[in-house]
């Protein structure tokens, strides 16, 4: 037995962080492209302006990342539960989700994962976000901090192999994050309607249905 119900999936701090992050990363992508290819890209004004913009956007993203991290670890206290896949999820959940996205979705089957506030992400999302939020984002931020403070941190940069290695690492990490964007945006369109998940990230509420007899974890489920 089930009934339609709206689920409050994305709390306000998370939504603020998400859109700040999204705006910041798009700014970083365009300004970064102009910094690397200044003869071809001149969208954001002169070179000096674009350097300042890139540095400011990087600073905003790094700060918002820090707030996001502290919010989930110390306030919501749900970081590990939300972002770290459990053993069972890796053993069977991951395969089940891959099977859904790449096979059964096309046959019209339902998504095997039903998001709840305490279990928002499916095993594939968890694995991807784990890599992005705990590896790529910290590393790209850290290398960016080094790049904006070359002279004071020169000793450390030399120890790490030199400016060029650091810069190329920053560039390739950024490319990985940019590569994630089209996939991320495409997956948001896989709800009941193409804009459903985007609306959720704007309002916090997601259309769902509650299984009355379910436990807390599966008590509030989406119909995807």
């Amino acid at each position: 037995m089930s009934e339609n119900k709206k689920v409050y999936l994305q709390p306000t701090p998370v939504r603020i962080w998400h859109w700040l992050n999204a705006f910041g990363i798009i700014t970083l992508t365009v300004s970064g492209a102009q910094i690397r290819f200044p003869e071809y890209i001149t969208l954001l004004g002169n070179y000096k302006s674009v350097i300042y913009l890139h540095n400011t956007a990087g600073f905003v993203v790094a700060i918002s990342f820090t707030f996001w991290f502290f919010y989930y670890v110390f306030i919501a206290r749900s970081m590990a539960n939300l972002y770290v896949p459990k053993v069972e999820e890796l053993k069977t959940g991951l395969l089940r989700q891959i099977k859904f996205y790449f096979l059964t979705y096309f046959l019209g089957w339902e998504n095997p994962h039903h998001p709840t506030p305490k279990n928002k992400f499916n095993p594939m999302q968890k694995s991807a976000y784990l890599a992005i939020m705990f590896v790529l984002m910290p590393l790209v931020s850290l290398t960016g901090i080094f790049m904006t403070n070359v002279e004071p941190l020169r000793g450390v940069i030399v120890m790490l192999g030199g400016l060029k290695i650091l810069m190329n690492f920053h560039f390739l990490l950024a490319c990985c994050l940019i590569a994630f964007l089209p996939t991320h945006m495409y997956l948001t369109t896989l709800g009941h309607t193409p804009l459903e998940h985007i609306k959720t990230m704007w309002t916090g509420w997601e259309e769902g249905e509650e299984e009355v007899s379910g436990s807390e974890h599966i008590g509030t489920v989406s119909t995807r």
Binding site: I35, R36, F37, P38, E39, N46, Y47, K48, I51, Y52, N55, Y101, F102, Y105, F106, L107, G108, T148, V150, E151, P152, R154, G155, V156, V158, M159, G161, G162, L163, K164, I165, M167, N168, F171, L172, C175, C176, I178, A179, F180, L181, P182, T183, M185, Y186, L187
Partner: protein
């Protein structure tokens, strides 16, 4: 036979002697003057001339009397004041450029360039060109001043000759220097070593042999990589800087320096020409040509020389593009199948 010697050979010998006499006299002239002016027991202050330094200047070949032509046999006891040529007598064009600048109100040529020590630009390491500027402009004050508009002002002032931006030179070239770790401390700084230090490291083979393995006085990218990967030289690194390609005394700040386009928007094409500057025994430097485009190598060519916008590596661009295209596989591939199977989800 004797007649031949008297009629032909002797005039030839005399002629040759006369031909070469001015040069030999000039050389004798400098050496003769330096007998006193190179001796600390005889003279001091501005009269003292470091002979080995003077020998490396472009002025040495002129000798002393070319500029000090009033010198006579009575010197130093005569009453006549020693004449001095002015810099503008020879450097007219540079002088005119300089006289148009604000600097001319504060400093004469001699305040920056000691004529007995001045070296040509290609006989300098690169960053040491700033020694003249720092006589008046203190580094912290310059960093504060530039910080108002220049990103990473401390980096620019620590690594570039001031004249790369503050002259009218239309181009620049890259100069690489071997720098050495100062001590064994963790994160110790790397500084420009003198000739003696590098000579001790390189031994009899000479400083150039540290990098120029085949001894052809030309540095290839392969040799740069071998140097940078050699664990034996772990306390040595290559520092890069940019120096003007033309000598100019127009010290104004041009717009393309102010908006960063002169260096950062000039593209990889501007990074083709580079040199390695190695110290000579006399305190000067000699420049060795480096393979075209070597500083654009992705990793080990010049690991510490990177300039945003210009030293980007083509191979890294390709890898980055492949990664970004990889991100399109899911939306394009999945999206296509999703469209083709849309009827299956109409429930």
């Amino acid at each position: 036979m004797n007649c031949f010697y008297i009629d032909k050979l002797l005039p030839m010998i005399l002629g040759l002697m006369l031909f070469f006499m001015p040069c030999s006299l000039l050389a004798m002239d400098a050496d003769y003057c330096l007998m006193c002016h190179g001796d600390t027991d005889m003279v001091s202050g501005s009269l003292l001339i470091e002979a080995t330094t003077f020998d490396t200047t472009a002025h040495a070949i002129l000798g002393c009397t070319t500029c000090h032509e009033s010198i006579d046999d009575e010197h130093p006891n005569g009453d006549s004041k020693l004449s001095r040529a002015t810099c503008l007598d020879c450097h007219d064009h540079l002088g005119q450029e300089y006289m148009m600048t604000d600097h001319a109100n504060y400093a004469t040529c001699g305040d920056c360039h000691n004529p007995h020590e001045v070296r040509a630009m290609d006989a300098m390491a690169g960053y040491d060109m700033n020694d003249k500027c720092f006589k008046c402009h203190e580094v912290p004050a310059m960093v504060d001043l530039h910080k108002q508009w220049l990103p990473q002002a401390n980096l620019h002032i620590a690594k570039l000759p001031c004249i790369t931006c503050h002259t009218g030179s239309e181009g620049y070239e890259i100069v690489l220097n071997i720098v050495a770790k100062q001590d064994d401390r963790f994160l110790s700084r790397y500084e420009l070593p003198d000739y003696q230090t590098l000579q001790e490291i390189s031994g009899e083979a000479g400083i150039l042999s540290l990098i120029d393995n085949d001894g052809d006085s030309f540095i290839t990218l392969r040799e740069l990589k071998a140097f940078n990967r050699n664990p034996k030289y772990r306390d040595l690194r290559l520092a890069g800087t940019m120096v003007p390609s033309d000598v100019s005394h127009d010290l104004s700040t041009l717009d393309n320096r102010y908006d960063c386009t002169f260096c950062h928007v000039s593209g990889p094409q501007s990074m083709q020409t580079s040199f390695l500057a190695i110290p000579n025994r006399d305190g000067g430097y000699q420049r060795i040509q480096v393979e075209q485009g070597a500083v654009l190598d992705a990793l080990y060519g010049t690991p510490d020389f990177y300039m945003v916008g210009t030293t980007r590596s083509a191979s890294m661009n390709i890898i980055g593009l492949i990664i970004i295209c990889g991100g399109l596989v899911m939306p394009v591939g999945h999206g296509l199948l999703r469209f083709l199977t849309r009827k299956n989800r109409q429930h």
